[in-house]
C-alpha cells in the first residue's frame, strides 16, 4: 500500500498561519469576540475562554516583511506619533486606521490584552489603542527583575492580576471561566513550548541543519498557537525534519554550501530586509544558528501552578537583569558552539538597545567570541542601510577568520 507522504512543516506553518488570520476574520464577522494581544502574554486565559486572538506584533512583522510598512508608519506619524517610537506600534496604529494590508488582515479588537514583560512600550501603545477604540484593556504588569530571579512579592502581584483578568474576561465574554479547561490549556501550552525549544535545539549539531532565519518564520506560530495541539504538531514535524537532516550530516543550505561560522542573532529581525540581512551572512558562510527567540517562548511551569505560570512569564530575558542577559547569551554560545554574535541595535527597541553595549563587552570577555553591532530597525525601512550592514559583516568576517586562525595555531 502506498504510504501517504507527510506534509512538510513549512506547509503546516503556512496552513496554520493562513487559518489563524482567516478564522479571526470569520469570528469577527460572526459577532464573536476578538482580542489583540502582546506576543508573550498569558494566552492560556484566552485559549481557555475560546476567544479568538490576533497579535499586532506578528502582524506588523508580516507587513514589514511584505515591504508595505511605510504607508502605515506614515499614517501614524501624521497623527503625531514620533519617528523615535517603536515601529511595530507605528505600523499597528496605522493599520488600525487604514484597516487593509496586502500582507494579511486582522479584525479590529473588542478588547486588548497587554503584558509588559516584553517592554514598557506595549503598555503605552495598547493604552492608546484602547482609548482610540473605546474598548476594555486588560493589563499584566510584570515588574522588571533587577534581581537575577523573580522575587516572591512580584509573583504575588502578578498572580493577583491573573485572578483579576479572569474576572474581567468573564464579564467581557459573559461566560464562566472553566478551570478544568484551563488545566488542559496549561498542559498543552507547556508541551508546545517544550517542542518549540526542542526543535530549535537540534541546531546544536555541526553543521547545523537549521538556517536560523527560519526561526523568524516559525516564530509566528509559537506566538499564535502555543496553547494548541496544532502548534505542537507543527513543531514536532519541524523537529523531525531537522533531526533527519542532522542525521544525514546536512547543513543549513544546499549541498556544497559550507557552514564556515556559527553565530547567534541578538534581537528582533529586520523584517523589511530579511533578504539582505540573510544573504550578507550566508554569502560569507556565516550561519545564524540560534537567537534569543527560542527561549522567549519557552514558557514552562507545572500544570495548575498559577504562581509558576506568573514566574515563567516574568522570566523573559528582556525583563531580567544584566547578569541574566549575559549568562543567557554565554550559555547559547557554549551550547551551540558559536563563533560569534550579531547584535541588532534596533532603533525601535530601547529596552534591548540600552544594555547591549555592556552585554557585548561582558560576553566577549567571558567567552572570547567576536561580535558585531549593526544599526537597523524591526519594521521601519528608513533605519537600515544594506551597504552599511555589509560593511559591518565584512569586518565581522575578518574577526571570525582571525580568531579561527589564532585558535588553529593554538
Amino acid at each position: 500500500m502506498e504510504q501517504k507522504e507527510k506534509i512538510s512543516s513549512k506547509e503546516m506553518l503556512n496552513n496554520l498561519m493562513a487559518n489563524h488570520y482567516k478564522s479571526a476574520m470569520e469570528a469577527k464577522a460572526n459577532g464573536e469576540l476578538v482580542a489583540w494581544s502582546t506576543s508573550i502574554a498569558p494566552q492560556e486565559l484566552l485559549e481557555t475562554m475560546d476567544i479568538k486572538v490576533v497579535y499586532p506584533e506578528n502582524h506588523a512583522a508580516a507587513i514589514g516583511a511584505r515591504k508595505e510598512a511605510q504607508k502605515f508608519i506614515d499614517d501614524a506619524e501624521g497623527r503625531g506619533y514620533s519617528i523615535d517610537l517603536c515601529s511595530y506600534a507605528r505600523v499597528n496604529i496605522g493599520y488600525k486606521n487604514i484597516q487593509y494590508a496586502d500582507a494579511e488582515n486582522i479584525p479590529l479588537p473588542d478588547f486588548i490584552f497587554s503584558c509588559d514583560n516584553i517592554c514598557h512600550t506595549v503598555l503605552k501603545w495598547y493604552e492608546n489603542l484602547a482609548k482610540d477604540l473605546n474598548i476594555p484593556l486588560i493589563v499584566f504588569d510584570m515588574p522588571f527583575n533587577h534581581t537575577y530571579d523573580v522575587p516572591d512579592h512580584a509573583v504575588k502581584y502578578m498572580k493577583g492580576q491573573i485572578e483579576e483578568a479572569i474576572k474581567r474576561l468573564e464579564k467581557i465574554s459573559g461566560k464562566k471561566f472553566d478551570h478544568d479547561r484551563f488545566r488542559e490549556v496549561m498542559e498543552q501550552s507547556n508541551k508546545t513550548s517544550q517542542m518549540w525549544k526542542d526543535a530549535s535545539m537540534v541546531a546544536k549539531a555541526k553543521p547545523s541543519p537549521l538556517n536560523g532565519f527560519d526561526l523568524f518564520n516559525y516564530m509566528a506560530a509559537i506566538v499564535t498557537s502555543r496553547g494548541t495541539k496544532e502548534g505542537y504538531e507543527l513543531f514536532k514535524r519541524w523537529k523531525e525534519e531537522l533531526e533527519e537532516k542532522a542525521a544525514a550530516g546536512l547543513g543549513p543550505w544546499k549541498p556544497g554550501e559550507e557552514e564556515k561560522f556559527r553565530v547567534m542573532w541578538d534581537g528582533i529581525a529586520c523584517w523589511p530586509y530579511l533578504g539582505p540581512t540573510y544573504k550578507g551572512l550566508k554569502n560569507n558562510g556565516i550561519n545564524m544558528v540560534t537567537s534569543t527567540y527560542p527561549d522567549s517562548w519557552t514558557i514552562l511551569y507545572e500544570t495548575g501552578d498559577v504562581d509558576g505560570m506568573a514566574r515563567a512569564y516574568s522570566s523573559n530575558y528582556v525583563n531580567r537583569n544584566l547578569n541574566y542577559g549575559v549568562d543567557n547569551i554565554v550559555n547559547l554560545i557554549n551550547e551551540f558552539s558559536l563563533d560569534g554574535v550579531v547584535f541588532h541595535s534596533n532603533r525601535s527597541c530601547k529596552l534591548m538597545d540600552f544594555r547591549q553595549y555592556e552585554v557585548q563587552r561582558e560576553v566577549e570577555e567571558r567567552t572570547g567570541v567576536v561580535s558585531v553591532i549593526f544599526d537597523g530597525d524591526q519594521t521601519d525601512p528608513r533605519a537600515f542601510s544594506t551597504e552599511q550592514y555589509n560593511t559591518r559583516i565584512q569586518a565581522f568576517l575578518e574577526m571570525l577568520e582571525n580568531r579561527k586562525e589564532e585558535r588553529r595555531k593554538g
Binding site: D141, P143, F144, K159, Q161, S345, L351, E358
Partner: protein, 375 residues
C-alpha cells in the same frame, strides 16, 4: 517687596548651584540620597534621617555615557549616567532608581556596572496600580527599600519616624500646590524662570526647611498688591522645562507659566495623600490615585481632559508641550491628547527639547509666534 525678592533669590540660588546646596546639607552632618526621576519613596529616606535630592540631569557634554547608551536616549538619563561615571555624584551616600520606563530599566542595570562607588537601590513601582495586589506589592517594595536605607543611614526607621516624614512631605506638597496658584497674582515676579527655580530648589533642600521658606514667600505674596499683566498665560506639559534658556524665551516674550503638568514640578505634589491607613499605604495610594501621568498606566487615559480642565481652571490661553526627546511614554501620550485639545479648541504649541541643546533660537522664535498668535 525687597524682602520677597531676597527670599526668592535665596531659593533661586539653591536651584542654580545644587552642588553647593548639597554640600551645605552634608556639612551639617546629614547623609544625602540621590533620587532618579520620577517618583520615589522620599518619605522613607527622610524618616531614616537623610535628605533626598533630585537627579534630573543637567547641561553636560556626553562622553563617558556613550560607553553604555546609544545617542537616541533621553538626555536627562544620559546626563545622569555621565555625571555618575564622572564622579559628580560621589557626594551622595546612596542612589534610588525606579524602572518607570524601558530606558530606566536598562540604565538601572548599566548603573550597577558604571557607577559602582555609590550604594545603589533599584526598585519597581507597579503599573497596574489600582488593584489591591499592587498596593501590597508597593508595601513590600517600600519595606525592602527601607531595609537598604537603614543600612546606609545606620539607623532604624520606625512608624513614628515615618509618620513625621509623611507630615513633612504632605505639608511641602500642600505648600507647593498653593504656590503654583499664587503665580496668577504675581505673574511678573513669579515669571516662568523664577517659578521654575523656586520649585526646583525643593530638590536640593530639606523639605521641612524648604516648606518654611516657601510659606514665608507666600505670606509676602499674599500681603503684596496684585501685578498687572498683559502677557500670555500658558500651561506647560512635559517632563521638565530645561535648559534654562528655554525659560528665558518665555520671559522675553511675556509668557507666564500659569500652571504646569510637568513630572519635575506639579506631578510631584498635585496628588493629595489619603488620611487613613499606614504611612506605606498612604504612600502607595498617592501612586494609585495619580491621574493623567504618562509614566503611570491608566486604562482610560485622562490626560487630555486633565489638561483641558487645567487650562480652564487657570484661565490659560493655551498649552505648550515641552516634549523631552526620546521619552517614549510622553511621546505616546501626545497624539491622544493632541486630538482632545484640538476638539476642545485649546491652542497648543509643540516643541521638542533636550536638556543640552546646541541652540534654543528656533524654539524662541516659536514661543514668540505662539505668544503673538494668542495675544
Amino acid at each position: 517687596m525687597a524682602d520677597l525678592k531676597n527670599m526668592i533669590a535665596q531659593l533661586e540660588q539653591v536651584a542654580l548651584e545644587p552642588a553647593k546646596a548639597v554640600a551645605g546639607i552634608k556639612s551639617e552632618g546629614k547623609k544625602v540620597v540621590g533620587m532618579f526621576p520620577l517618583y520615589l519613596p522620599e518619605e522613607i529616606v527622610y524618616a531614616a534621617g537623610m535628605i533626598p535630592v533630585g537627579m534630573w540631569g543637567g547641561q553636560t557634554e556626553i562622553k563617558l555615557a556613550d560607553r553604555y547608551l546609544q545617542s537616541f536616549c533621553c538626555s536627562i538619563i544620559r546626563a545622569d549616567l555621565e555625571m555618575g561615571m564622572r564622579g559628580t555624584y560621589n557626594m551622595l551616600d546612596g542612589v534610588i532608581m525606579a524602572t518607570y520606563c524601558d530606558t530606566l530599566k536598562c540604565v538601572c542595570e548599566d548603573w550597577k556596572v558604571a557607577v559602582p562607588q555609590i550604594p545603589f537601590i533599584p526598585m519597581v513601582y507597579p503599573q497596574n496600580r489600582n488593584i489591591q495586589p499592587a498596593i501590597e506589592y508597593m508595601k513590600a517594595e517600600f519595606s525592602r527599600v527601607q531595609a537598604e536605607l537603614e543600612k546606609i543611614a545606620g539607623t532604624t526607621v520606625t512608624e513614628e519616624k515615618l509618620e513625621a516624614a509623611w507630615e513633612v512631605y504632605e505639608a511641602y506638597r500642600a505648600a507647593c500646590r498653593k504656590f503654583v496658584k499664587l503665580v496668577e497674582k504675581m505673574p511678573k515676579t513669579l515669571n516662568a524662570k523664577t517659578r521654575h527655580l523656586i520649585l526646583k530648589a525643593s530638590w536640593f533642600m530639606d523639605k521641612k526647611v524648604y516648606t518654611e521658606k516657601l510659606n514665608a514667600i507666600m505670606e509676602a505674596i499674599e500681603a503684596a498688591p496684585a501685578e498687572e499683566f498683559n502677557g500670555t498665560k500658558v500651561v506647560v506639559e512635559g517632563i521638565m522645562t530645561e535648559p534654562l534658556a528655554l525659560l528665558d524665551a518665555f520671559v522675553e516674550n511675556n509668557v507666564c507659566i500659569i500652571a504646569d503638568d510637568l513630572a519635575h514640578e506639579s506631578r510631584q505634589f498635585r496628588t493629595v495623600g489619603r488620611t487613613e491607613g499606614t504611612v506605606y499605604e498612604r504612600m502607595a495610594y498617592r501612586i494609585a490615585d495619580a491621574k493623567g501621568d504618562a509614566l503611570l498606566y491608566e486604562e482610560m487615559k485622562t490626560k487630555g481632559q486633565f489638561l483641558i480642565d487645567l487650562v480652564k481652571d487657570s484661565k490659560a490661553d493655551g498649552v505648550v508641550v515641552c516634549m523631552m526627546k526620546f521619552c517614549d511614554p510622553e511621546e505616546y501620550d501626545y497624539p491622544i491628547f493632541k486630538v482632545e485639545l484640538e476638539e476642545a479648541k485649546v491652542p497648543m504649541l509643540y516643541m521638542e527639547i533636550e536638556q543640552k541643546m546646541d541652540s534654543v533660537e528656533p524654539l524662541k522664535t516659536r514661543i514668540q509666534s505662539f505668544a503673538e498668535m494668542l495675544s
